[in-house]
């Protein structure tokens, strides 16, 4: 009680005297950065999730090949979710004599629950948003269906036993998918018209689906309910299956955000550690005095711990408030860019921010504080005695643990976690060794330079530990700032550039082999550049390692899908630039004609394959067995034609396949596409402009978030610099007063201080630039999988900017030291 009262009294007083400024600032900025980042990531995460929903036209879709009862729908309604139905089936559509196989989509009035249907008044025409679904007796055929049938608005189409009027032309629907497995053009109709067509017969192949949408948390609960309560023949549809491009972009943006918040966390940890260090230095005398006057170690510990708790709590509360307010303001600022409103934030980031603050405080501030209580009373007589050096594991263990925990918490990925921890440890080690070398070197330099330099250099050498600690803090701080400014800009640019304006937006599937050359020429004559066609054929897996797939239990639904559904496959000796081999070897020239297959990582993992496993396929009626020779990580969101399965060149040359290609064309030029569909009626045209727009919007959202995270992190970085400079300020103050008492002119003292900071700045800038380049490379290549070009400016900013920043920060912090009359300083004022 006594200790508490004393602790609070001292705390109040120290607060008034500005003594606690840096520590409170460090924790406040740390918490506000973490909660602010948390809020933003949360809100943008929800927005990105909603984006994913648009690919399904719902948040969750339950599918079945059989008649579905209303159990799930009733449950969803009970939970306040919105629902809709759709039924898919294949049927031939007639316009007089013209006929075309079509994929019919009979939908209920609520369709779509997410995203929008786009319509036009002519095939490939300018799109407008649809309101509602086709009226009874009316249908919306897709452009290429209308083109193939020679139909237009007003045309009467025969489907089964009924006749329908074309009221609009379908340009796109949110759930059209992008796997190019469904080649038949689609037609949207009202589900109430379906019975009259007489198409629903026992044995007819129907896909029925129930669509659900609602609040994020409700949906998550409902999805869990579905997983346990759905029937065996029912499947929950996944974004991954229908549009791997979106899934890929979402994952990448999540990783980007996580790295940005991680940098914020790390910077905050350094800032808090440095501030705590200074707090300890400033309190050594008081603790020694308290002990001399009879305070026990427990008492001293209670005093400093309760101070830490109060400081931590108030700074955390203040920080969360600032974090909350700032992110709202940022969202306002970014609202134009984010295209549409962000959902309101949840409260979880508050908890996470607090938790992080506790981890950072516990790891980085607690050990030095515990150490403080071990200051011997003897210090009152001998100023040079401090607390006994702690065991290394106690001094750094908690900080390492806390930081490791935070990295894990943020990244949740073993490989990335290991790389980050090891990389960070290595960097700190290198910096410490460099600091030690510098100290060594400067001791030698001493004789050859002027008095102020000698003083500055001597300082570095004498405060050995302090110099090394400072150098590490500066180097880490500047490195993080470099990663955040230069590297971040490069990465963002590279990512955006990965979807340039000429990204393919039209995919052409099913090009007959004898027409492929002609097809390419047709496109090239109309402005498409270098049209490259590649073979494509349908295949269905029959055996894995000689065991029939029907007899294999797959753990995931996705795995079952891979095993049981048709796949588009190709064969090629050339590896696409957006494919990266993660295991095995890509086909060499000698592999031509050998029974080998390269699989994508998704395929490899879901089916639990190993290199060398043999897969047997039914390829266009022929049995083909091939051994897995390599695994490819595919960047699906590059929008280049990509395949789960690629066979060795030559192997399937005899197969009756077709060709496919992807090109960029102006979608607002309906004539070209219309001509093309009439000229090559068997070719299936897929326009992915909507999907591209969605991926671009995901990228934009992530970019906006990263930009705002940057603001918070910049604050943390500056606090690190201030804290690092402050840490040695007191000693400097005393020394410079001494020097001036001895007759040194202000200029001399100032030059001495500046030369010391200049040395620190240049060295830490160099180290930081190196670290930032390596970190940027790693993040780009391994975490984000985007190309990274080394940016020499990092060095410029690191060296010049870092050196200057340290000098200015150092000068600002010690300016008063030099300007104060020496007597005042020596008297301890």
């Amino acid at each position: 009680m006594k200790a508490l009262a004393l602790a609070m009294r001292m705390l109040m007083r120290e607060w008034k005297s500005g003594e606690l400024g840096v520590l409170v600032l460090a924790i406040t900025v740390a918490v506000s950065a973490l909660t602010g980042v948390g809020f933003l990531v949360d809100r943008i995460g929800i927005a990105v999730d909603n984006q994913a929903g648009e690919v399904l036209a719902a948040d969750v879709v339950l599918e079945s090949g059989q008649v579905m009862d209303d159990k799930a729908v009733d449950e969803a309604k009970r939970r306040g979710l919105r629902t809709a139905r759709k039924t898919g089936l294949f049927s031939v559509v007639f316009n007089g004599d013209a006929s075309q196989l079509s994929s019919l989509r009979a939908v209920s009035a609520e369709y779509p629950l997410r995203g929008q249907v786009k319509l036009s008044d002519q095939p490939f025409g300018n799109p407008e948003f649809a309101t509602g679904i086709p009226a009874r007796g009316e249908v919306w055929p897709e452009s290429r269906l209308a083109a193939a049938l020679g139909a237009n608005v007003g045309t009467q189409l025969n489907i089964g036993a009924s006749t329908f009027r074309v009221s609009r032309i379908l340009i796109s629907r949110p759930d059209q998918g992008a796997t190019f497995l469904e080649l038949a053009p689609s037609l949207v109709m009202n589900e109430e018209d379906l019975p009259a067509t007489d198409l629903i017969q026992p044995g007819s192949r129907l896909r029925r689906a129930q669509l659900f949408a609602g609040e994020r948390s409700e949906i998550a609960d409902f999805k869990k309910w579905l997983e346990t309560n759905k029937k065996p023949n029912e499947e929950i549809e996944d974004v991954e299956d229908s549009a791997p491009q979106i899934k890929s972009a979402i994952d990448r943006s999540a990783r980007f955000l996580r790295i940005a918040s991680l940098v914020a966390v790390l910077l905050c940890a350094i800032a808090v550690a440095m501030a705590a260090r200074r707090y300890v230095q400033r309190h050594l005398d008081s603790v020694a005095l308290l002990k001399t006057l009879g305070a026990t170690r427990g008492f001293v510990l209670t005093v400093s711990l309760s101070q830490l708790v109060v400081i931590g709590l108030s700074a955390a509360i203040l920080g969360s408030l600032i974090g909350f307010v700032t992110q709202s303001w940022l969202v306002q600022l970014l609202s134009g860019w984010l295209r549409g409103d962000l959902p309101p934030p949840g409260l979880a980031p508050l908890g996470v921010g607090f938790l992080t603050a506790i981890a950072v405080l516990g790891g980085c501030a607690l050990p030095p504080l515990l150490q403080l209580s071990r200051t011997p009373a003897l210090r009152v007589l001998r100023r040079d005695v401090g607390p006994p050096p702690p065991m290394v594991i106690l001094a750094f263990g908690p900080a390492v643990l806390a930081i490791a925990f935070l990295i894990w918490w943020v990244m949740r990925d073993v490989k990335v976690f290991a790389a980050f921890t090891v990389g960070l440890a290595a960097f700190v080690l290198v910096v410490a060794v460099a600091g030690w070398l510098l100290v060594k070197l400067t001791t030698r330099l001493r004789g050859g330079v002027g008095v102020s330099w000698r003083y500055g250099i001597a300082n570095l050498g004498r405060r050995r530990t302090e110099s090394i600690v400072q150098l590490s803090a500066f180097a880490l701080g500047i490195m993080m700032l470099l990663v955040l400014t230069v590297v971040r800009n490069d990465l963002l640019g590279d990512w955006r550039r990965s979807l340039p304006a000429d990204t393919p937006n039209f995919f052409f599937i099913n090009i007959p082999s004898d027409e492929s050359r002609e097809f390419a020429t047709f496109l090239e004559e109309r402005g498409a550049e270098e049209v490259r066609v590649r073979p494509m054929v349908r295949a269905r897996m029959t055996h894995i390692n000689g065991k029939a797939v029907e007899d294999i239990q797959f753990e995931t639904q996705r795995g079952r899908g891979f095993a049981n559904r048709d796949q588009n496959i190709t064969w090629s000796g050339e590896l696409n630039r957006d494919n990266e081999i993660t295991a095995g070897k890509w086909f060499s020239a000698e592999d031509a004609g050998k029974p080998l297959v390269s699989v994508s990582t998704e395929y490899f993992e879901e089916l639990k394959l190993k290199l060398g496993d043999t897969l047997t396929f039914d390829v266009a009626g022929e049995t083909q067995t091939a051994a897995v020779s390599s695994v490819r990580k595919v960047k699906w969101d590059s929008f280049q034609p990509n395949f789960f399965l690629i066979f060795a060149p030559g192997l399937l040359d005899g197969t009756q396949g077709t060709y496919m290609t992807a090109v960029h064309m102006d979608a607002r030029n309906p004539k070209t596409i219309g001509d093309l569909v009439r000229r090559f009626p068997s070719v299936s045209v897929f326009n992915v402009d909507d999907l591209l727009a969605q991926v671009r919007s995901v990228i934009d959202k992530a970019l906006a978030a990263v930009q705002s995270v940057f603001l918070f992190t910049l604050m943390a970085g500056l606090v690190v610099l201030i804290a690092a400079v402050q840490a040695s300020r007191d000693e400097r103050r005393y020394e410079s007063a001494m020097l001036r008492t001895l007759g040194a002119r202000r200029g001399t003292v100032l030059k001495g201080l500046l030369s010391e900071f200049a040395m620190l700045g240049v060295l830490s800038g160099t180290l930081a630039a190196t670290g930032a380049s390596i970190a940027g490379m790693y993040i780009a290549r391994k975490v984000l999988q985007i190309p990274y070009e080394f940016d020499p400016w990092v060095w410029f900013y690191g060296l010049v900017g870092g050196g200057l920043l340290v000098c200015v920060a150092g000068w600002l912090a010690t300016r008063s030291v030099v300007n104060q009359p020496p007597l005042l300083t020596l008297r301890g004022a």
């Binding site: 006594k2 009294r9 007083r13 005297s17 006057l293 009879g294 026990t296 427990g298 009152v380």
Partner: protein, 220 residues
């Protein structure tokens, strides 16, 4: 009756030049109420001896008995508790807690010893050193002499059995120093405290009852 007794007190430290003996086989016995001055050249080991006698440091060998307790048998916290009850300190630089007022600084040892009348006692002692009007001031708002008077009040407020002082006038001008010394001896005679004082000042030493000359770690 002996209140402070040292037997063959030795302190060795390791330095870059090898093992150094800074206090060498010192024995002494100080009776209650005595005032003892320790004098000697700079570096003779006076401060080190004082630290050992007060239990701020532990000897390499030998024994210290303070107010009936064997310091060498106590752990750090035990010695701290003993100091809280029986020992007072005055230092060369005044060592006040900068974040506490004059009054709070004087209350500190009372509070640490668990006394309830801390405020009243502190107020009264501050009055005795002539600072009744300055109780609410912070150390930085006081002159050097005033700070040292606060330190004196803080040292005497617990009515310690032994008061240790290490060059209490070292940082003050002659005039102020003399006033502080007078105050020190006045308080000492009022409260019957045993005084152990390290000083360079012959005049100060002369006011003590006994003079111990220290040279290269040994008492002569």
């Amino acid at each position: 009756m002996s209140v402070l007794k040292a037997e063959s007190l030795t302190k060795k430290v390791t330095s870059p030049e090898g093992m150094l003996t800074i206090v060498n086989d010192v024995s002494l016995d100080i009776a209650a109420g005595e005032s003892v001055a320790i004098v000697g050249a700079s570096g003779a080991g006076k401060s080190t001896l004082l630290a050992l006698l007060a239990g701020l440091d532990s000897p390499t060998s030998g024994r210290v008995t303070l107010a009936g307790a064997d310091l060498t048998a106590l752990d750090e916290d035990g010695r701290a508790r003993l100091r809280a009850e029986r020992v007072g300190f005055v230092f060369q630089s005044f060592h006040l807690v900068p974040s506490l007022t004059a009054l709070e600084n004087v209350m500190l040892p009372l509070e640490l010893a668990g006394r309830r009348d801390a405020r009243a006692a502190a107020q009264e002692t501050l009055g005795r050193v002539g600072l009744a009007q300055r109780t609410g001031h912070y150390p930085r708002q006081l002159s050097g002499g005033e700070q040292q008077r606060v330190a004196l009040a803080r040292a005497f407020v617990t009515r310690p059995a032994v008061l240790f002082a290490d060059e209490p006038t070292g940082n003050l001008d002659t005039n102020t120093g003399e006033k502080i010394v007078s105050l020190l001896f006045d308080l000492n005679s009022q409260s019957l405290t045993t005084l152990v004082l390290v000083t360079h000042d012959r005049a100060v030493a002369a006011r003590c009852g006994r003079l111990l000359q220290m040279d290269s770690g040994m008492l002569k």
